[in-house]
Amino acid sequence: MSGRPAHLSRGALVVPAILAGLGIFLVYGTVTMEVVGDGGLFGPTTMPWIVAVLCFVVAALLAFDILRPRPEYDTPAAGAADGSAGDSGEAGPAAPDGVNVPAVLTAVGGVAGFIIVLPFLGWILSATGLFTAVAVALGNRRWPGIVLGGLAVSSAVQVVFSALLGISLPSGFVGGF
């Protein structure tokens, strides 16, 4: 399996799983829907049924497309020449699923943290934290630089969009001063 590109690896089965999940969401929501008035044959539930069927069909086809044997990738030769430069023509990354999990978790965690602290800390401090988290996730470790950079960007957004253009942003406890 190691020779397969990312979109045909086992991990790619996430996508059909998402589609099947959406299909179940649609079926459940349509069955429990409180239809206002007489829906008729083509009422508010028609399109959800169509899309739900589409989700299930596409999920099945996509899962088949990912799982079906691919002699061009699954031959022993491709497996043996794993780490070294393959002769498949494309100079892709050696590991198809070369996802840097800690980096992704740092970035996702940064966004989640931002959402939690925004009402309390206000825009400038929360956005500085978000900037720092994403910069760290992308491998930057020069702390003074990224914190100051984040402060500059979030302050600039506050000044241009909130003070000049009048879009409201939460000020948090800083606004109390």
Binding site: G29, A107, A127, A135, G139, I146
Partner: protein, 501 residues
């Protein structure tokens, strides 16, 4: 000519310092996001959608159009210099453009691209000025069946014809259609898929969906790639940024052929400029093979000129299709449609009648934007190349902050931010496993139109399905669609045959 006097009126409207400033800002930002790999005009316009709350429609829309065209000017810079095209629209021109750069002709390659984008965009804008009113006239006869046909055409074209893998395109389409269903059903007032949770009654805003999938998804995907050895060295352009007479004469026919190939692709909903740029590249390569001394593979100027002209020609006529038919044919056009809707304007046949002044000012803005972009791109290309030196960590951290701001500004709600995080992770999964994002956006924008048109058409005809194919326009659209699907299937089959040899 009525169009000419209208256009002159449009120029009169936008030749004010403030309007010119927005043209300039749009061109500047568009080029910048075009230059930076991974960013694009669709994402830039999505991030700036909150500005529609504070700017007047003409200023905002002119700026957004400048970004759209600017993205297509700038995308070649990273492609030519680093061999990493800023956008999929620059892949075709990068083959020969990067080879020119390696041979020390980076500046000339960039000039060829910029002039090509200028010629393609200008020609397409002129065509839009003359044909948009006629197209709008034709579209006044559109009923629900015709709009359903247009939406179905757009769905199938962008997911099955344009995407590399039809099944992955349709998967993206299904995700988008599902997102579009959440919220109150307009005709009946029934709440759908909100499960008693009131913030979901209004549905998920298009701003949240685009910003999450395009901006945050890209940020997460950059994080996923940290540590992979993939940083390439840039060839910095030096020397003259103009073309010699011989180079100009060589490129001119290619620019014109590229424009001719690009123009029709903006009007038919085939989803952006990828297909026409590759067609233009392929045409030039075939012509080159007949020469006594073929130059393709060694940095052929025609291989740069034709795709760049085709790309901007497509963007120009795509704006025409958006204004006259209300039909977005690319991801950026889909977000521009959302921008119009923020102002309560519905692009389509009635727009010219009801808000003609905005449309003509916008069309005049196209021409100004092209001129500004040519000036920004020709002599200053080396300056733009410096942008490629901005460290990725700062760049994407800034984008994450802007994404959070854009989503929060759109609704001042924490629920929107949570949806953003979920969709951002979805965007990461889609990028990891080669699921295209554009069909999601088209489905979200056109999904409601398709659904309500279908229900109107059936309701008006006692559920007689024949009404869906009863007019010549619907028949022509479905036939065109069938031909497109057949051609794509044949093309994929032929490619597979060729690859097996």
């Amino acid at each position: 000519m009525e169009q000419l006097s209208n256009l002159l009126g449009g120029f009169a409207d936008i030749l004010s310092p403030s309007a010119l400033l927005f043209v300039f800002l749009g061109a500047l930002m568009g080029t910048a996001v075009g230059v930076l790999p991974g960013l694009g005009s669709a994402m830039a316009v999505a991030l700036l959608l909150p500005l529609t709350f504070v700017l007047d429609p003409t200023s905002a829309l002119i700026m957004f159009t400048g970004i759209y065209f600017g993205g297509l000017f700038g995308d070649s810079i990273a492609g030519f210099l680093m061999n990493t095209p800023g956008n999929s629209t620059a892949i075709a021109s990068t083959f020969e453009g990067h080879r020119m750069a390696l041979r020390g002709k980076a500046a000339q390659a960039l000039a060829t691209g910029a002039i090509g984008a200028f010629i393609g965009g200008m020609a397409a804008s002129a065509l839009v000025v003359f044909f948009a009113p006629m197209l709008a006239q034709l579209a006044t006869g559109f009923g629900p069946a015709e709009f359903l046909a247009l939406a179905v055409f757009a769905f199938v074209a962008i997911s099955a014809v344009v995407a590399d893998s039809a099944i992955r395109g349709v998967a993206a389409l299904a995700i988008g259609l599902t997102l579009a269903l959440i919220g109150i059903d307009q005709p009946s007032g029934s709440p759908r898929f909100s499960f008693g949770f009131s913030p979901l009654l209004d549905g998920i805003s298009i701003v949240v969906i685009t910003v999450s999938l395009l901006a945050l998804g890209e940020v997460f995907s950059q994080a996923a790639k940290v540590g992979r050895a993939q940083d390439t060295k840039a060839v910095m352009p030096t020397g003259r940024w103009w073309l010699s007479r011989a180079e100009f004469r060589q490129a001119l026919p290619a620019w014109l052929r590229g424009t001719a190939i690009g123009v029709p692709f903006g009007v038919i909903p085939a989803g952006g400029a990828e297909v026409p740029t590759f067609l233009a590249y392929g045409t030039e390569r075939r012509l080159d093979r007949r020469k006594p001394e073929p130059t393709f593979g060694k940095g052929a100027i025609e291989g740069v000129a034709a795709p760049e002209a085709a790309g901007n020609a497509t963007a120009g006529t795509a704006m025409g299709a958006l204004l006259a038919l209300g039909l977005p044919t690319s991801a950026t056009a889909a977000i521009l449609l959302a921008a119009f809707q923020q102002y309560g304007l519905q692009p389509g046949p009635l727009l010219l009648e009801r808000s003609g002044d905005i449309v003509w000012a916008l069309l005049a803005g196209f021409f100004l934007a092209m001129i500004v972009l040519l000036i920004l791109n020709l002599p200053f290309a080396p300056l733009w190349a410096q942008l490629l030196r901005v460290p990725k960590s700062y760049l994407y951290a800034g984008i994450a902050v802007f994404a959070a701001f854009g989503v929060y500004a759109a609704g001042a709600s924490t629920v929107d931010l949570v949806i953003m995080l979920v969709l951002g992770v979805l965007g990461l999964a889609m990028r990891l496993y080669d699921i295209p994002v554009a069909p999601v956006l088209i489905a979200v924008i056109l999904g409601p139109l398709a659904e309500y048109s279908l229900r109107d058409a059936m309701g008006n005809s006692d559920n007689d399905p024949a009404v869906l194919v009863s007019s010549p326009i619907t028949v022509v659209l479905y036939l065109l669609l069938a031909a497109g699907v057949a051609w794509t299937a044949w093309r994929r089959f032929a490619e597979k045959q060729a690859a097996d040899v």
